[in-house]
């Protein structure tokens, strides 16, 4: 295609930027740095009418290059960041925050803490109010580092406790860290957002000091406040907390129900199913079946013995009782077209048998019920099992053969 022989400032910087981009995508850091040197003069034309002006572009690209370039050092990075701070007052706190992250990633915790403290004390007219969110983040991360210090002090104290020492100064230090951390962590989790780490740490602090009510309230807010974005972890944390404190099955189940809705493949679904299976309420047991089927829809669960054993147990129990076969029918209806190929192929039969006998056992049971004794999977595994004279496989064969008519009713 024809080349342009015209050029102006704007166009030449656009072209330069595309070269930088290409170099970065190909991880050619030297080349990216080279082109960046030619881009830098656009700072002298920064009129910031564009969404992202030259100073922000240079900050982001420069950071990226310095992170990856083999010859760049921490000292260089810091010098660069300091210059970036002076370039755009509207971005000042953001740059500070990223600087702190970089220090943390390089293990310089104390320096990060100092930086955050310094940033906290920054004031700049109306900018301070405008950058309120960034300020809260800075305080939150500083709170996190306070928590980290608290943990260290706590561990020291526990060690000393074991040795029989009592260290007042350590204890005081610990409490002071707690206060500092708690204040900031509490603030940030008020704002709708995803604050997993902060919530966990805050709850940990509260639990240590025995404020269970506050902890429960925090977790409930985090999980159920509609202003907060849907977050599976929130429900996990709540569940774990309730479990720790021996709450009723009812509350545990209601916590996990939402998790099932959001993330049907979550690892806690096994716990959930087990709880539900044991329930006296019919609805709960029905839900249990739904939960375990849903979990096994996901490829990650294909070889999970526990999951299969849950399903197998429940299916077996239903078949024996001869009640609620329609449950299985309902669940199987939407799966009968693709589960056979997905879980019960002959290839998988062979592989499961070779690699994991228990897995093949559980799966065979399920296959036998859902697809009948003549299905590929069941036939192969039971044959192998009986050939190897493993007792349970003989029992299995008898069981499935006996209940074969069930299959007909399910599939019909």
């Amino acid at each position: 295609s024809s080349h342009e022989y015209k050029l102006n400032f704007k166009k030449s910087k656009e072209v330069c930027l595309s070269y930088i981009q290409d170099a970065m995508l190909q991880k050619q850091w030297k080349r990216a740095a080279e082109f960046l040197t030619f881009y830098i003069e656009s700072l002298e034309k920064d009129f910031s009418t564009e969404y992202m002006g030259p100073s922000e572009i240079i900050w982001r690209i420069g950071t990226e290059i310095l992170c990856h370039h083999s010859h760049s050092s921490m000292k260089e990075f810091i010098s660069f960041i300091e210059q970036m701070k002076t370039l755009g007052v509207k971005r000042y706190l953001k740059v500070c925050l990223e600087h702190a992250f970089h220090l943390l990633c390089n293990g310089l915790i104390d320096e990060a803490y100092q930086n955050l403290s310094l940033a906290e004390s920054w004031r700049f007219g109306e900018q301070t109010a405008i950058q309120d969110k960034e300020m809260k983040l800075i305080q939150a991360y500083r709170g996190l580092l306070d928590y980290y210090s608290w943990c260290k002090q706590k561990n020291i104290m526990l060690e000393h406790g074991q040795d029989g020492f009592e260290d007042l100064s350590v204890e005081q230090e610990m409490h002071s860290c707690f206060r500092k951390a708690a204040v900031n962590l509490k603030e940030i989790i008020k704002i709708p957002g995803v604050w997993d780490l902060f919530v966990k740490c805050y709850v940990d602090l509260l639990e240590f000091y025995g404020d269970h009510n506050e902890a429960r309230q925090v977790l409930n807010e985090y999980a159920y406040n509609s202003k907060f974005p849907a977050n599976p972890n929130a429900h996990v944390y709540l569940y774990q907390f309730l479990k720790r404190h021996g709450e009723s099955k009812k509350s545990l189940i209601s916590a996990l129900k939402i998790l099932h809705d959001i993330v049907p493949s979550h690892e806690l679904m096994i716990d959930f199913n087990i709880m539900l299976q044991k329930s006296k309420k019919r609805k709960k047991r029905r839900l249990g079946l739904e939960v375990i089927f849903a979990a096994l829809d996901y490829a990650g669960w294909k070889e999970n013995v526990k999951a299969w054993s849950c399903l197998a147990r429940q299916v077996k129990q239903i078949v024996i009782s001869e009640k609620h076969l329609d449950w299985i029918k309902q669940e199987w209806n939407s799966r009968k077209d693709w589960w056979p190929a997905f879980h019960f192929s002959r290839y998988l039969a062979k592989r499961n048998w070779q690699e994991n006998e228990s897995l093949s056992y559980e799966k065979a049971l399920v296959a036998g019920i859902l697809l009948g004794k003549d299905c590929k999977y069941f036939k192969y595994v039971s044959h192998q099992g009986c050939k190897a004279q493993v007792k349970r496989f003989r029992i299995l064969k008898k069981f499935v053969t006996k209940h074969n008519p069930v299959y007909l009713r399910i599939s019909g």
Partner: protein, 573 residues
Amino acid sequence: DFNERCAQCSEVNWGLTDGGRFYCRSCHNVTERTREVVNTDFISNTRIQTISKGLKKQEKTDRGCEWYVCEGFQLVLKKQAEALEALGVCPQMKDEILCNFWRRYLQKTKQAYCNRPAGETVKALSVCDSSTDVDSEPERPSLLHFLSLSESEGDLQTDCSFASSISKISESTSVCSGSVDGSSYLMKNRKEKLRMTMPMTLSFCYMALLWLREPMTLSDLLRFVVEGHIPYLNVFQHFPEKMKLYGLDLKIFCVESWPVYEEVYNKMLELAAFLDLPRFPDITDSCFLHPDMLCMKYLMEANLPDELHNWTCRVVKKICIGEADFLTLVPGNKSTRNVKYDVLAAAVIVVVLKLLFLLDDHYEWLLSDFVEERNKNNKEGGPYFEFKKWYKVIKCSLDVKEKKLDEERAKYLWRCEKPLFYSAKKKAKVLKRRQIVVNLQNQFGKLSGSVQPAEKPNPSSFQLSWSEENTDGSCFHGHSLKGILQEKCGLLTAMNPDYWLCTVKLCNEKLCGHLAHYREVDFPQSYHFVLRLFAFLLRIQPSYIHDEVCVIEHKLFNKKLCKKPKYKTGLRK
């Protein structure tokens, strides 16, 4: 300034002679007072004023004496002329031609340019007295003399920030400029014809080169500008220290784009007409700019056989574009279409290639294969020219060169060391930014690995060069066209019997600005390739060469076109 009444006529209407003396415009009485004397008085007076009136006043006077925008341009032209001289252009260009064009321009524009309030002493530059007959040939004072005068003038302070930032300032605010007439210069718009601009300095240069028939085409000139051999970008850094750019001056003197061929060329035509210049010296067949000569040069550069030159000459002769009357510039003559020598020569070569190879994406390859066969039995001295081989070699080189050029575009630096401020307030911020820029450039420069400082390429008329000493056979100059020619009635004609016209009908240039509309997809790739090659050499859009090709074709096949659209043709001597 000088406000005394004339001894003879009692008027206060002074001008300056070449010798720097004041003379009365009304009665032409020449005084003994010289400009320098007045100047020093002026300066020393202000100094005394400054000292007595304290700091505030000093700030104002730090701005120094006045300078006019045209003085700035004069300096620019001087620098450009010096650079051209360094490139080998004859000194006459600077000392005589360019300076006289400039004088004439000043004369012409000053008449329409400023309202001369009575008594105002006009600057040294308006020495172009009305009394001197500018048309007469002999003794013109050298440009150097003029410029040395202007340089001795007082302080100029320019304090400006970049051109585009000024556009944000509304015209209504009284923004300062270092030059006296900076703000009014920009505000006086359409009424005044041919207000001087930076691209126009190049028009001046080209006009002078053309007058002298120097071996430098417009595309050469513009390429030298982009490569940095001729001052253009940031030329103000060569202004004397006292002459600082300020405010609106930036909009006048700062350049933020490469000069555009069409713009410079058209301005040159306008200028030549405006200055009432006579017919330029004839372009004859011994001139570099004559199509026969330029074709030779471009053929060499394009690595095409020398034998093609016969064909280009034939085409040139056939359509009469080698005549002095056609080629020579007559300013103001609107009946003839003006000649872009470089584009014309390139287009002639393209037409010749079409004549011999058809370039329809089929024939040239078949022909090439045919020649390849013939070459196997070729007992003569040199090989026959094979299009395919040439194409491969050229494509390879062209791809490399184009890529390199693209990288250079990305790496082009626009700022110079001399920072520019819009106002005194912004100075600190601008300086600080500059410092940050320099720091960052150093920091990332070190991380660039083996940093090669940007080497300014040596100025060369040839961008591609091929040597027959290369044993790899990549030079085609000496190849023979016999492979593609045949004998008919004792004459050598092209084996190719066909031709396709780029366009059946030419557009009306006045209506849509072009004679044809080129779209790559509408034409054979071989044709596009050839256009691309010359577009690269001349640094212009392929469509401009295409336009010229269309015109040549229409002249060449004029008779056929008048009859009916039958494209069969052969070319006979």
